[in-house]
């Protein structure tokens, strides 16, 4: 099991290189020459020349790409145009906040989705199921920014139960400040998880092995936890991996709504500040995060499902 990790890590290297290609190409889509696009209205002949030399924009495109990859391998994502410090440093400052937010949201989503999916599946087509299905149908159609604003407006600004933005002091302050954003983020994921888990559980409940387990005379609780839950967890993990991209994408919007100082907020700020190296860097980091989570859920799936053991 553990022995497979290095091999799988090697497998994602081509993906990482391709991510690099996309991010590299992205910046070349800028109209005009990249140096003046990078500098915008701050461009002077001297600064243009400096950027051209520094980024190697005067060299052939493939040389530029190799240089880019080389810098990437050293963790060099260029320098932020607005803040004049290395992009890597800007991102590393903000990344932990985003990771906490997303992790927190994932936990909330699982805690919400798993029991509710069970309730819906066990009471299939009866009132609890219909009510929950209605709710997650609405959840699936609700944009994150809207859920966030409603929670912020009513629970934060009106009732003063929660802070309306920022990160607060210390660890618990951060947790307190992240509750609403994490909950917002969790709702959209929970809706997706619940919808799919419900049908997965219904499928498992119909399986012969559930009848066989009942025929052994074990308690319904043990049938549920030992057989149904175990098999549904595999689906949950797979679903989680499939939806991590959506979750990270939504975190960009959530951070914006709640003014959470993570890399999502950074991305939007960078767009309006025309800080392209930061845009590039954040896009890259988010894509790398997705592929790492893919890898993690993949490994976990094969750990949970003996049929996938090597």
């Amino acid at each position: 099991m553990l022995a497979r990790i290095p091999g799988r890590l090697l497998q994602i290297i081509p993906t990482l290189i391709l991510i690099g290609v996309v991010v590299f190409v992205l910046l070349r889509l800028l109209p005009g020459d990249p140096a003046s696009a990078l500098l915008g209205n701050r461009a002077t002949p001297e600064s243009l020349a400096r950027i051209n030399a520094q980024m190697g924009f005067d060299k052939p495109i493939w040389v530029q790409f190799l240089l880019f990859l080389g810098r990437l391998a050293h963790g060099d994502l260029g320098v932020s145009v607005t803040e004049r410090i290395p992009v890597t440093r800007v991102i590393l400052q903000r990344l932990p906040v985003t990771l906490c937010l997303v992790g927190f949201a994932a936990v909330i989503a699982l805690v919400l989705a798993l029991p509710l999916a069970f309730v819906a599946a066990l009471r299939q087509n009866r009132l609890p199921d219909l009510a929950l299905r209605g709710l997650f149908q609405i959840g699936l159609s609700s944009p994150v920014f809207y859920i966030g604003l409603l929670l912020l407006g009513f629970l934060g600004a009106r009732l003063h139960w929660f802070p309306v933005g920022g990160l607060g002091q210390g660890f618990w302050g951060a947790v307190y400040h992240l509750i609403l954003p994490a909950f917002t983020l969790a709702l959209s994921l929970a809706a997706v998880l619940m919808r799919n888990l419900r049908s997965a559980i219904i499928g498992v409940l119909r399986a012969d092995y559930v009848d066989f387990a009942r025929a052994k005379g074990i308690t319904p609780w043990r049938v549920l936890t030992g057989h149904v839950l175990r098999n549904s967890l595999i689906t949950t993990v797979a679903l989680f991996g499939l939806n991590i991209g959506v979750l990270l994408g939504n975190s960009v919007i959530t951070e914006n709504v709640f003014a959470v100082p993570g890399i999502g907020g950074l991305l939007v700020d960078a767009i309006f500040g025309r800080d392209y190296p930061v845009v590039q860097g954040v896009t890259l980091v988010l894509a790398v995060l997705v592929s790492l989570v893919f890898l993690a859920t993949d490994l976990m799936e094969s750990w949970l499902d003996p049929r996938l053991h090597a």
Binding site: L29, S141, F145, L248, V252, I253, V282
Partner: protein, 287 residues
């Protein structure tokens, strides 16, 4: 436990299946909602009680009431009328974000699925790559480079979104290609184009249409999110996300400026996905 069908097949296999099920009420609800928004998009002038752009300084931020069902905004404009006029933009987003990807994706997917080989391998790598990027992040990054605005949103969504349609069509075509009627077509010496267009695609389109319905709902969410962030439709264009963004600073004093436009997104999205689910059921039954 649950009221599931028994594992043993008690009903004989020959039992006649009803060909056309009565459409479930969820589907009807979805169709009505969708039709309502379509009407609003086609003829907003007929439905909107007020001019969406007319300032009315005597009625600033008036709460919901008989005169203004959804209240007025900080310029005295009628929120309901603005939502109705905004339907035009959001329905446009739903169509322009999905139809180009659908066409491109279907073409690429059927070619790749039919011929396989190197093109298919390359396509596989593209799929791997695209699913690695959070969709919205990739779209945001492209819009960032091209500049904010709806046209650039369409370009960004199309340049990524076609992959999902292509992946769907490819898998359908690959399955169908093995089917008897495709083999028969080959034996009869039909051209590849004829087999693809006359035989494979019509059968693959069911799945595409079902996906298209849900995709439209997703793109309304995406488009309004970009509008909210200031990357999509640009003010003063009335678009639901932009309206929500306009209202967010007045949550304390004029909640209706935020709540109603946002609700329009939720209702429209729900309508489209209910319709999509219903269509999925109906098409599956008819098959």
């Amino acid at each position: 436990m649950s009221s599931t069908v028994p594992t043993l097949s008690v009903a004989p296999a020959t039992e006649p299946r009803r060909v056309w099920k009565r459409p479930p009420s969820a589907f009807i609800l979805g169709a009505i909602i969708t039709a309502g928004f379509l009407l609003a998009a086609i003829a907003p002038g007929l439905l909107a009680p007020y001019d969406p752009l007319a300032f009315d300084y005597d009625n600033l931020q008036v709460g919901p009431g008989a005169a203004h069902w959804f209240g007025t905004d900080n310029f005295g404009r009628d929120v309901l009328s603005r939502i109705i006029w905004a339907s035009r933009i959001d329905i446009q987003i739903a169509l322009f974000c999905t139809i180009p990807p659908l066409l491109i994706g279907t073409a690429v997917g059927s070619l790749v699925g039919y011929y396989g080989g190197i093109a298919d391998t390359i396509f596989g790598r593209i799929v791997d790559l695209v699913i690695t990027f959070p969709f919205i992040v990739l779209v945001i990054a492209i819009v960032a480079v091209l500049g904010p605005g709806l046209v650039n949103v369409y370009i960004a969504v199309t340049s990524v979104g076609w992959v999902f349609y292509a992946r769907l069509v490819r898998s359908q075509v690959m399955v169908l290609r093995q089917a008897d009627f495709a083999a028969a077509g080959q034996v009869m010496g039909y051209s590849a184009a004829r087999i693809i267009f006359r035989h494979l695609l019509p059968n693959a389109m069911t799945a595409v249409i079902v996906y298209w319905m849900t995709d439209m709902a997703l793109d309304i969410l995406l488009g309004s999110s970009l509008g909210y962030l200031g990357l999509g439709a640009q003010p003063p264009t009335a678009e639901w996300g932009v309206l929500v963004s306009d209202g967010k600073n007045f949550m304390d004093t004029a909640w209706w400026m935020t709540v109603f436009p946002g609700a329009a997104i939720v209702v429209c999205g729900t309508g489209l996905s209910l319709l999509g689910d219903g269509v999925a059921d109906l098409l599956a039954v008819r098959r």
